[in-house]
């Protein structure tokens, strides 16, 4: 899947990243898609893997809540809240995964309004 303004999941992630200060407001949409995890604020490359995992879990949990309650997304069939969080965490733990990679995983776990209306 491409990083595109045609998909609500990409837009929801872009604004969630800005709303949690992971990227600043001057980061353009196109630029955000190619950023890697270690470019985001939660990813401290010098911390132990134990601390990084905790940061990723906190952020993934926050995003899950935002997608479900503010965007009124629903989980894809057979996917639960802990599974969605865990899948996001696995991407977030890898320094070289991109924001676009993260949006792909989120797309696999959640059904946003544009998908529901198709």
């Amino acid at each position: 899947m491409a990083w595109t303004t045609d998909k609500r999941v990409c837009k929801a992630l872009y604004f969630a990243l800005q709303g949690t200060d992971q990227i600043d407001l001057l980061t353009e949409f196109d630029e955000a898609g190619v950023l890697v995890m270690k470019d985001l604020l939660f990813f401290n490359p010098h911390a132990s893997e134990d601390l990084r995992r905790q940061e990723a879990i906190i952020l993934a949990s926050r995003y899950d809540s935002q997608f479900i309650k503010a965007h009124r997304a629903s989980y894809e069939k057979g996917v639960s809240r802990p599974e969605s969080i865990a899948k996001m965490v696995e991407v977030m733990m890898q320094a070289k995964k991109t924001v676009e990679d993260l949006s792909d995983i989120i797309d696999d776990c959640y059904k946003f309004r544009d998908e529901k209306n198709r």
Partner: protein
């Protein structure tokens, strides 16, 4: 000899991207070397070889090209190598010569889920490798490798976004679309709309507590010292997401950076980031030394001992300068052997502290400072690193 020098430079320059610049430099070199004596050109060649092959950028270039070949030919090995997060670098300390080497960092996990109503419990098995390796091991100032398997339980409270009804949710998404449209046509009024957007998202502060059983194997880079370390770790973290609550203001480490962001115009007003609250780790390890000549010489035995550990990590944004975003990241670790023998204390082997701080840009430029020692390090060193990290990328995977 002159030909050798020119060939040497040609090889090195072939790893850069600037074809015109390469041709110009080679032309200049050919002109300069015509007038040199044999001794001069020998000396120049020796210095050239030394300078070129002690530069981590050369190895990063070789490695980047190797990974790109793997990407086309061997998907499985490419994914592993990419996730290994390997960076060549030079170690510079105040007591040791400059040493060339690399650091690596790999982690993977298998998740086991648990669902509860108000809080979330996540369980996972995690595998990780991490370390610094110098090509001349005696010059490695951060001589510590760790391999670990852990069972992690993470409890989360808060971080809950207030539920929007269908109509309000649609309005919020329409506002997001308006912001993107204005950004696309370079209309600067988009910035003002972010305040309006923030009103739609009401979120509580968030707290996390992790309890982890961990089994580690620690060693120096030639494995002449090694030990097994089962242990219990507790991690704690908080995020001041709610702008109306006081928690964010307790993030005191972010105050100097908030000031820099204000001065540089990165933030419109003095803003403490609730998202950059430092994370902490407390641990109790039971160390089982397998081979440690220093302890053996001092104690005569390799008895097991208990060790306390503490870690705090912090990362925040420093400034945006044009397209470059600068981040500050730091980590402090403390280890203390419990009930250590007097001879261990006298040799200052009962405790160690380690601190690293770095400023890094999105494009890969970084400057870092390290002080103290990790277990197995022989001395307290101050290590400075300056370099460029390559993002190998995985956009299409």
């Amino acid at each position: 000899m002159r030909k050798k020098i020119i060939i040497l430079f040609a090889i090195v320059l072939s790893f850069t991207n600037y074809t015109n610049a390469q041709e110009n430099i080679l032309d200049h070199l050919k002109t300069i070397f015509i007038g040199l004596s044999k001794n001069q050109s020998d000396s120049l060649l020796k210095e050239g070889v030394k300078s070129i092959f002690s530069n981590p950028d050369l190895y990063n270039d070789f490695f980047r090209q190797y990974v790109e070949k793997l990407k086309a030919n061997d998907k499985g090995r490419y994914t592993f190598i990419r996730d290994l997060d390997l960076n060549f670098k030079s170690f510079q300390s105040d007591t040791l010569p400059v040493a060339l080497g690399f650091n690596y960092n790999y982690s993977n996990s298998w998740v086991k889920n648990k669902v509860t109503e108000k809080s979330t419990l996540l369980q996972s098995y995690n595998l990780a490798f991490k370390g610094n390796v110098a090509f001349k091991k005696q010059f490695n100032p951060n001589d510590f490798l760790e391999y670990s398997l852990a069972f992690d339980n993470s409890f989360l409270w808060g971080g809950q976004v207030a539920e929007l009804d269908e109509e309000t949710s649609i309005k919020m998404e329409e506002l997001q679309d308006t912001i993107l449209a204005r950004r696309a046509r370079k209309d600067p009024s988009f910035l003002g709309l972010y305040d309006e957007l923030a009103k739609y998202i009401s979120v509580t502060d968030q707290f996390a507590l992790g309890i982890k059983g961990k089994f580690s194997f620690e060693a120096n880079q030639d494995f002449s010292k090694r030990q097994f370390v089962p242990g219990l770790l507790i991690t704690a973290g908080a995020k001041g997401w709610n702008k109306n609550e006081a928690l964010q203001y307790f993030n005191i480490l972010d105050y100097p950076f908030a000031l820099i962001r204000l001065i540089t115009g990165t933030d419109k007003k003095f803003t403490i980031y609730g998202a950059t609250f430092p994370s902490m780790l407390f641990g109790l390890d039971y160390v089982l030394p397998q081979d440690d000549t220093t302890r053996k010489e001092l104690l005569g035995t390799l008895d097991a001992y208990s060790r306390l550990r503490f870690e705090i990590g912090f990362k925040t944004r420093v400034a945006r300068i044009g397209k470059e975003v600068l981040h500050f990241s730091s980590d402090f670790r403390w280890y203390k052997e419990l009930n250590a023998d007097q001879v261990i204390k006298d040799n200052k082997l009962d405790r160690s502290t380690f601190f690293v701080a770095a400023i890094e840009s999105n494009s890969g430029l970084f400057v870092s400072y390290t002080t103290g020692k990790l277990p197995f390090d022989k001395r307290n060193d101050q290590v400075y690193s300056l370099g460029f990290k390559y993002n190998l990328g995985n956009k299409n995977d």
